[in-house]
């Protein structure tokens, strides 16, 4: 999420001063995302220029508080209710590794899969433990952990599935080779017989 949307979200809650926005944004993101004052004021100026917020009150140090405009409110609600485009990860590292293993033949694809499976399972075990230790009331934390758990599960299922596909492909390749030989022989025989 961008600083812009973060500022709008906080202002949707009521008018605030720049220094308040900076502090509340940092608290809201668990102090993980530190902002400098400059970033806050640049963002506020742009939002004001775009008509999404407007100056509200001025304190004795000549600082402005801002409030969200109707247009700002609409923009924020629209952003919140639009789906996030699914990221099409057709070039992620793991898929690349598996494909390269299959083509290069230097490292077995099965090894790549096994190594990844063990690592993802360990992570999943850690997330489940964290989930168990988190109070149900800590929704923010649960939201994140649930997401990580489901992502881990999905990756493990995917690994099982591609392992199946690779095994199947290698047996089918053998069958195809045999089948092709058989067909070739049959065709040769057939054409041979019409020639008779």
């Amino acid at each position: 999420m961008g600083i812009r949307e973060g500022m709008l979200a906080l202002l949707a809650d009521g008018p605030k001063y720049g220094y308040q926005l900076k502090r509340e944004f940092e608290v809201a993101t668990g102090e993980a995302w530190a902002l400098n004052v400059g970033q806050v004021y640049t963002t506020l100026q742009r939002l004001e220029r775009d008509g999404l917020i407007e100056a509200h009150e001025t304190d004795d140090k000549e600082r402005h508080s801002y409030r969200i405009t109707d247009r700002g409110q609409d923009t924020f609600v629209e952003w919140m209710t639009q789906p996030i485009e699914p990221s099409v990860a057709n070039r992620d590292d793991l898929s690349m590794k598996v494909l390269l293993a299959m083509t290069s033949g230097v490292v077995d694809a099965a090894v790549v899969i096994d190594v990844q499976r063990a690592s993802t399972m360990t992570a999943l075990q850690d997330y489940q433990r964290l989930r168990a230790e988190t109070p149900e009331t800590d929704l923010a934390w649960m939201l994140l952990l649930d997401r990580l758990v489901y992502q881990g599960e999905a990756e493990l299922r995917w690994l099982d599935r591609i392992e199946d596909r690779i095994e199947q492909a290698s047996t089918e390749r053998e069958t195809t080779i045999t089948a092709t030989r058989a067909t070739t022989t049959a065709v040769t025989r057939a054409s041979g017989s019409t020639n008779d």
């Binding site: 939201l143 599960e153 493990l156």
Partner: protein
């Protein structure tokens, strides 16, 4: 804390049938489960999970290797001795609910104690307390078909760990439950192990397997890999607004 090994399997193998019918269901399995630990067995269908669990629970005997439960070597015990050992130390939870339908929830739990000579009133009292512990206070007089699927699994878990029993063996215990109920059953198994039981959980579901301290993956009857959870939990960046 000194590790108390509740279940120990050494070079265990199991073969069914012979000639062209021969199936090596388990090959060279080494496995230990200590008190306070939950171990998951995972792997594809047919990889040997249920066979391993049945042998761990003395419901079946290995073709080779040794197994001991609560320090007692099972090799050479006769059927009656095995039954006694099961009753004293081991509890099972299966996918299909395995409560005795003609008994009430409380009676299902107190039965193993009564068979062991615990006075009736005493046994019932312990069953009542065990039901409280799994969140089923006041449901002692319900019959199996008067309980939901999740509640029946809770009764099975309470029964599995009644008295001095402390080896909990579960084969796909969430197989017939929805996601949320399944999760609460898994949480209960996890917390019973945290409280000191030794647990062995068979599941093909990676999400459920991840509740365990160790995940043992079987492939064609052999241990393919073992994963442990990290000694120190990872720190994650919080996501809040």
């Amino acid at each position: 804390m000194t590790e108390r090994i509740v279940l120990s399997m050494r070079s265990v193998g199991k073969t069914f049938g012979d000639g062209v019918q021969r199936v090596d269901a388990l090959l060279d399995i080494d496995l230990e489960v200590a008190a306070g630990e939950l171990v998951a067995i995972t792997g594809r269908s047919g990889s040997g999970k249920s066979t391993l669990l049945n042998i761990a629970g003395a419901l079946d005997t290995p073709t080779s290797g040794t197994i001991s439960i609560a320090g007692e070597n099972l090799v050479g015990l006769d059927g009656k001795e095995l039954a006694l050992l099961r009753r004293r130390h081991i509890g099972f939870v299966f996918q299909e609910f395995n409560l005795l339908p003609t008994l009430k929830a409380g009676e299902n739990i107190s039965l193993p104690l009564e068979l062991d000579g615990v006075p009736l009133a005493d046994a019932r009292e312990q069953a009542e307390a065990a039901l409280n512990e799994v969140g089923l206070d006041g449901k002692a007089d319900r019959y199996g078909d008067e309980l939901s699927g999740g509640e029946r699994q809770r009764v099975a878990i309470a029964r599995a760990l009644i008295g001095q029993r402390n080896l909990l063996l579960a084969d796909e215990p969430t197989g017939a439950l929805d996601e949320l109920t399944g999760e609460s059953v898994l949480q209960l198994i996890r917390s019973r192990c945290d409280a000191g039981a030794a647990g062995l959980l068979v599941t093909h579901d990676p999400g459920w397997a991840a509740f365990a301290d160790r995940v043992v993956r079987l492939r064609d009857g052999r241990i393919e890999s073992i994963t442990h959870r990290s000694a120190t939990p990872p720190t994650l960046e919080r996501l809040e607004l």
